[in-house]
């Protein structure tokens, strides 16, 4: 295993020193990129590196660096990897450039779906979508003769039967880690219930029936989870699946490939994908995209080179080689088994994550506040009222609320 990795690494370094082996042109302008570090970004930045002179930084904490790095003049990075939410600070500060002319020059292979438009201008190029959808142990479900749940209520019923049959101790897994993950879980539920987060003037508006219903459903789910759910993030849930400890979870599409990874998973071929459960108004999940942005503070020559390199990074060749790594938006992608869940979720009308400045604050307030309800420290109304109060304080401090 180790030897194999080393050989592979050696091969990769050979390719990059041999320059533009898999690239249509030879890049001679030094280009730097900063993005998240998950599998898809590895694939894309490796493909970019084939053009030569590309230095890619993959960092899971990229969002803390990006705003100030792009504000420098010249910008510390030419290319940035972002998602819905992390584009907001860059867009607000005007540190990413409109791409329409570059798209016209070099973007022949892009589909209209990939162009992220803000007020008619293309500000980012999307490469993949990500969403939380249902993953379940098909073998357990067919053994017990259970239907694939389409709502959370059905999921609870299925979980009760699985627990009763004693197949696994805790049937449900969830990314309920206090902080960003837990905030996201509430947002999924709340959007599923058709709630809206803000009223007039960015004032919070979550203390309502939909909010209470969302909290109560989250709590009902925790009854079937490992009691340590407040420290369980996506990687933890993925491992629970791989080790056969859980039977069902609403997990990120980007984690689907890992279920069939023979080196890690004990349940290869047994985990199947399905649409995210429906709330009373929409699927209880949000659609995310990941994509590329380009700094304002660089020369046009650099922008040219950066864009061309990026196009090589997200070309058909790369997708063909990494088909099941992500749900790509790129030409040449063939949705396989693992993309079924994301496709079905989108088809059912899942809404995009409502990224904005106030939403950033709301997400943090939710992530810190929801746990108090789950642990039983507060009742639902108090929890929501306290989250609203926390949001208002922070939003006032940020100048978003008067």
């Amino acid at each position: 295993m180790k030897l194999k990795t080393m050989l592979a690494a050696g091969a990769v370094s050979l390719i990059s020193t041999g320059a533009w082996a898999g690239c249509a042109f030879e890049n001679d302008v030094p280009i730097k990129s900063l993005s998240a570090g998950f599998e898809a970004w590895k694939a894309v930045t490796d493909a970019m590196a084939e053009c030569g002179n590309v230095e890619a930084e993959l960092d899971q904490e990229f969002r803390e660096k990006q705003p100030s790095a792009f504000e420098a003049n010249p910008s510390l990075y030419h290319i940035g990897g972002v998602a819905n939410s992390t584009m907001v600070p860059l867009l607000n500060a005007g540190t990413i450039r409109p791409l329409d002319d570059l798209v016209e020059k070099y973007g022949q292979n892009l589909t209209p779906n990939q162009l992220i438009k803000v007020d008619g201008q293309t500000m980012a190029i999307a490469m993949m979508v990500n969403t939380q959808h249902l993953m379940y142990r098909e073998d357990i479900f067919s053994d017990l003769g259970l239907e694939v749940p389409t709502t959370y209520q059905e999921m609870l019923d299925a979980a009760a039967k699985i627990q009763e049959a004693g197949v696994v101790e805790y049937p449900i897994g969830g990314t309920f880690k206090s902080g960003w993950n837990l905030g996201e879980e509430f947002i999924n539920m709340y959007i599923g219930e058709g709630g809206s987060f803000f009223g007039e003037g960015n004032m919070p508006a979550i203390n309502n029936e939909q909010g209470v219903a969302s909290l109560e459903m989250l709590k009902a789910l925790t009854e079937y989870m490992d009691p340590e759910y407040l420290v369980s993030d996506s990687t933890y849930v993925q491992q629970q699946f791989q080790q056969g400890k859980i039977a069902i979870a609403n997990l990120w599409a980007s984690r689907a490939g890992a279920m069939d990874d023979e080196a890690e998973s004990q349940v290869v071929g047994k985990v199947k994908m399905a649409a995210a459960p429906m709330g009373s108004a929409a699927p209880a999940t949000t659609l995310w995209w990941d994509g590329l942005v380009f700094a304002t503070n660089m020369t046009d020559e650099e922008a040219d080179a950066a864009f061309r390199v990026a196009m090589e990074g997200i070309d058909e060749e790369m997708v063909k080689a990494n088909n099941d790594t992500a749900v790509w938006l790129i030409n040449g992608y063939e949705p396989g088994e693992v993309a079924m869940g994301a496709a079905a979720t989108a088809a059912a009308g899942a809404l995009p994550y409502p990224a904005s400045g106030p939403m950033g604050i709301m997400h943090t307030a939710l992530g810190n506040g929801v746990a108090a309800f789950l642990t039983g420290d507060k009742d639902a109304e108090t929890t929501l009222a306290d989250i609203e109060a926390e949001y208002t304080t922070a939003a006032k401090e940020a100048g978003l609320v008067q």
Partner: protein
């Protein structure tokens, strides 16, 4: 020493202290009284994002910061007095909880919840560390010369490990079906979830801190033990003092200045408890004052930070440390004066 020589020796260190401690501190103090905000304008924006096959476009009114002619965000800074302190301390909610005489409601307020844990943590670990440290030091001191080296090395190990790494390794021993949890489950024949409630987490955090800091105390006490007057010890033996009495009446009084020193250092360190919260990701159940400051300072995904509240909370932490240290410092001062 001539004044010039003295000044030349001290100047670099004073300069560093000013540059890296005093000025930042003044700046934090200032920021806690001011509020810096971007100037927002409400604009109608149409945003198109990818769906699985086609795009979704939404038009909504969004708050967007204004940019100046250099492309920087326009900000305004206003003096807000103690507003940020009030936002951290939340006296309104404290009063409401007091009116109901409800401790549990009081403990839902972040600052007071953090203060409660920070103080508990500090005062429970302090005697344990002093006790353990003295114990280890006595063991080393009484070990035969051949064993002394290895024993010192072994007892110093926890201190050498980087704090966060140490916390993480204890976390992996206990989380989920970690080795120790699995072992406890097998021994007690019941299901155990160490990360599911506050008290087990607090227990682990304190256990970790004592494990990590006791060697430091031990090494200090061991050094002190080398200077215990052997004549007084021998005369105590002749007077028929037991082992315990010798410890109580000869050794501990001799070590007293060192005990005060270790107490001082530990109070300062423990009040700033932070690694444990991060290492055990305990924030859903247990938070500390230092973690609260950190949480205010971390930008959310839209890039917002609460700098003013973070500054206020940092100042409050400092005030807390000073209050804790005053009795110990006064004692040292008194001894110092009495000794001359």
């Amino acid at each position: 020493m001539k004044f010039r020589t003295f000044a030349a020796f001290v100047a670099p260190s004073i300069l560093m202290m000013l540059l890296f401690i005093a000025f930042p501190l003044v700046s934090v103090l200032k920021q806690s009284f001011y509020l810096t905000q971007p100037v927002y304008e409400m604009v109608e924006v149409e945003t198109c994002t990818p769906g699985f096959l086609t795009q979704t476009c939404v038009t909504e009114t969004k708050a967007q910061p204004q940019l100046d002619e250099f492309g920087k965000i326009v900000t305004t800074t206003t003096f807000v007095g103690l507003q940020s302190y009030q936002n951290v301390l939340e006296f309104g909610r404290v009063k409401a909880a007091w009116a109901k005489r409800s401790w549990s409601e009081f403990q839902t307020i972040d600052f007071w919840k953090a203060l409660r844990f920070t103080l508990t943590f500090t005062f429970i670990t302090l005697p344990l560390i002093l006790g353990m440290g003295l114990g280890i030091a006595l063991v080393i001191n009484n070990a035969t010369r051949a064993l002394r080296g290895p024993v010192i090395f072994l007892s110093l190990l926890p201190m050498i490990i980087t704090p966060v790494i140490g916390a993480l390794s204890i976390r992996w021993l206990f989380i989920g079906d970690g080795i120790l949890t699995a072992g406890l489950e097998w021994w007690l024949e019941r299901d155990i979830a160490m990360f599911a409630q506050a008290w087990t987490l607090e227990l682990m955090m304190m256990f970790y801190r004592v494990w990590h800091v006791a060697p430091f105390a031990a090494i200090i006490f061991y050094a002190g033990l080398q200077t215990v007057n052997q004549d007084s010890l021998e005369s105590a033996v002749i007077d028929g003092a037991s082992r315990w009495q010798r410890l109580r009446y000869v050794i501990v009084p001799h070590l007293m200045p060192l005990i005060v020193f270790v107490t001082l250092i530990h109070l300062m360190d423990a009040y700033r408890v932070f690694e444990e919260v991060v290492g055990f990701s305990s924030q859903a159940h247990v938070i500390s004052l230092q973690w609260l400051t950190y949480d205010f300072l971390v930008p959310d995904q839209a890039g917002n930070r609460s700098v003013s509240r973070a500054s206020a909370s940092a100042m409050l932490t400092m005030i807390g440390i000073v209050i804790l240290l005053v009795p110990v410092l006064r004692r040292t001062w008194r001894d110092h004066r009495g000794g001359h």
